[in-house]
């Protein structure tokens, strides 16, 4: 079980309201990702759920029980911190055993769970080492192991991959997703990286300045962003926004078109401009186009073989069915 409900939860530090009252439900077994720019209150929200911060108002329910004033240890949640927060003077085995020791789990059961976790996380050879003797990825696994053995009703992750290098990050991302498939436990995962959000989440919660901008599945957010912020935040490269005459043609204040929804050609098209930078990724090529008269830069994604270079004049045609329209307030027009 692990259904978490936030009911008009708000948080202020002194006079500063970091999180205005918000409602949110996380269903049992769901992989929910909180995503938003740095400082938008993701960690704070996670810490409120964990009980490491007290709410300023509102109610937190875990499995229909009011948990607002329940101490962190009693909420049945396990957290993986950004710094891993391993206990440096304890061996890996003792680190993983710690929550069970505190819960007075019998030693045989402790050992059974430690072995199981170590097997699942490839830590068997490292059980007698100290955290200081492990690589970043291994430390990450120990932190996850320490969370798993508690058999919590939900896992909380606070930017767990941000200290890893890019290759390791992709690997750990997969491992965490697999872990979720296997355990089917509720997971709440905080990140500022929309790629992590898109690839891992069942449900994404986009936050900005403590406010929930939109909640939905990755594809919902991609196809029907509720406002300009979500539209710009989800998807990579970023959506192009065009204002003025061109937008007015579509009856909107601003129109948004994703780079992958623009066709490029050397001969003819709706818009034209000069390639300023072309980024070749092999599979794809990104063109940053200037001088279109629409916006300062238009980003276009084309096939890897398309070979325009700096200074080439190219023509672009947006796909009409995927143009996003926004009003003056930045809200989506149906």
């Amino acid at each position: 079980m692990g259904r978490i409900t936030l009911d008009k939860v708000s948080k202020s530090f002194g006079d500063v309201q970091v999180i205005p009252p918000l409602d949110l439900t996380i269903d049992d077994g769901e992989f929910t990702v909180f995503v938003g720019p740095s400082g938008c209150g993701k960690s704070t929200l996670l810490r409120l759920i964990a009980g490491l911060e007290d709410v300023s108002s509102g109610q937190i329910r875990i499995d229909k029980q009011d948990a607002t004033h329940v101490p962190p240890a009693k909420r049945g949640l396990a957290m993986v911190f950004q710094s891993y927060a391993l206990y440096p003077h304890m061996s890996v085995r003792k680190n993983i055993a710690f929550p069970m020791k505190m819960a007075k789990v019998p030693v045989e059961e402790q050992n059974r769970r430690i072995e199981a976790a170590a097997n699942a996380l490839n830590l068997t050879d490292y059980l007698d080492r100290r955290p200081g003797q492990l690589s970043g990825g291994q430390r990450q696994r120990v932190a996850i192991g320490r969370a798993i053995v508690r058999e919590p009703s939900a896992f909380l992750f606070d930017e767990p991959l941000s200290n890893l290098d890019a290759a390791l990050r992709v690997g750990m991302r997969l491992e965490i997703s697999e872990l979720h498939e296997r355990l089917e436990t509720t997971m709440i995962y905080v990140t500022h990286d929309q790629v992590e959000a898109m690839t891992m989440a069942d449900k994404i919660v986009v936050l900005q300045a403590g406010v929930i901008e939109q909640v939905g599945s990755p594809l919902e957010l991609y196809h029907t962003p509720r406002n300009k912020f979500v539209a710009g935040f989800i998807g990579s490269p970023k959506m192009n926004f065009i204002e003025g005459k061109e937008a007015a043609k579509h009856g909107a204040h601003t129109i948004g078109i994703r780079p992958e929804h623009i066709e490029v050609s050397g001969e003819a098209g709706t818009w034209s401009g000069v390639v300023s930078v072309s980024e070749h990724l092999g599979s794809d090529t990104f063109f940053h186009v200037h001088g279109t008269g629409l916006a300062e830069t238009i980003t276009v994604r084309a096939d890897g073989e398309v070979g325009f270079r700096h200074g080439d004049r190219i023509f672009m045609t947006p796909r009409a069915d995927v143009i996003h329209k926004f009003d003056a307030e930045g809200l989506r027009i149906a």
Binding site: G51, P71, Q82, A85, P88, R150
Partner: protein, 319 residues
């Protein structure tokens, strides 16, 4: 322990931050010129090393020299070599073993009190509270009072059986005031010296406690550890190295406390430490040779204590 934590501005930092390594080319230069640089470094350090060695070796040699002589400045001066006579006389004196015991009791007592109270005070001072800055300065203040002065203040203002503050407290509760320096002389000395050294211990432990990653405590909290267990499993192990430093440094200084005894009990009532005994032999009995032999014993005692300490706590300094 290479983890980096953000440091709040109000932290008391002991050591200045390590200087940034030089830029890349300079570092490469340094690599190629290592041998040359090492020779130069040795040359430049030589004067300091020689000065320090002389500083240490000259008194040590003189102590050894005099310890084998019968040397009575007021009763004939240098009366020639006597072999190990002084050593035998010093140990066989009835005051010797009690003085070793008094030394160890005082050092041990002060260490125990300053470490335990130091840890508690450090935890307290690390809490966000009103007026923390002022309280921190107040806590550190005793360290700046000269030992002679603080011992006199304790003796006359607090421990005086007639007018002392403690006597008034005792009377307020209807009890007979304690004649501190006579009835509880060793404890009184321990109290006075602890008061002086508590700030040092607190300061070192406070800086150590500030470097504890708060996420570790939060993780332990989520793992179900109540405050006492968080202290035992997280905070205390984190402090072990700082505690070791406090114990080692304090021991060096505590083995040679003198002023506190001189201005209070003058070595009476079981407070005659080895240092004080040597002082009496040299200055009161005017027997330089005997005192020097005592000095050599003091060096031996200090080394025995050091070996024991390194055995017990030294491993905390590794890694």
């Amino acid at each position: 322990m290479a983890t980096q934590h953000s440091q709040p501005a109000d932290r008391l930092t002991m050591a200045p931050p390590a200087p940034e390594p030089a830029s890349q080319p300079a570092a490469a230069d340094h690599q190629s010129g290592t041998k040359h640089a090492r020779t130069a470094a040795r040359l430049m350090m030589a004067p300091a090393v020689i000065l320090l060695l002389g500083w240490m070796l000259v008194p040590l040699t003189m102590t050894l020299y005099f310890s084998f002589k019968k040397f009575l400045p007021l009763r004939g001066g240098d009366l020639g070599w006597v072999g190990f006579d002084n050593y035998v006389r010093f140990v066989s004196s009835s005051a010797f073993w009690p003085s070793v015991q008094a030394t160890l009791v005082i050092v041990g007592g002060v260490l125990a009190i300053t470490v335990v109270l130091g840890v508690l005070l450090a935890i307290l001072l690390n809490q966000p509270m009103w007026g923390r800055g002022v309280v921190r300065i107040l806590v550190i203040a005793p360290f700046f009072v000269m030992p002679t002065v603080s011992a006199l203040v304790w003796k006359n203002m607090f421990m005086d059986p007639v007018n002392g503050l403690l006597a008034h407290v005792w009377r307020a509760f209807g009890a007979e005031p304690l004649v501190w320096l006579t009835e509880a002389s060793t404890q009184s000395i321990i109290l006075i010296v602890s008061w002086q050294w508590l700030p040092f211990a607190t300061l070192i432990l406070l800086t150590a406690i500030q470097s504890l990653d708060s996420e570790q405590l939060e993780a332990a909290e989520m793992d179900g550890a109540p405050p006492v267990k968080r202290f035992a499993y997280i905070t205390l192990p984190h402090l072990s190295r700082a505690i070791t430093v406090v114990v080692l440094i304090q021991t060096i200084f505590l083995l040679s406390i003198f002023a506190e005894i001189f201005v209070t009990t003058q070595g009476a009532f079981g407070t005659k430490t080895l240092t004080y005994l040597i002082f009496q032999r040299v200055l009161e009995s005017q027997n330089i040779g005997l005192g020097s032999a005592g000095g050599v014993y003091a060096i031996i005692l200090a080394n025995i204590v050091a070996i024991f300490l390194m055995r017990i706590v030294g491993k905390n300094l590794d890694a």
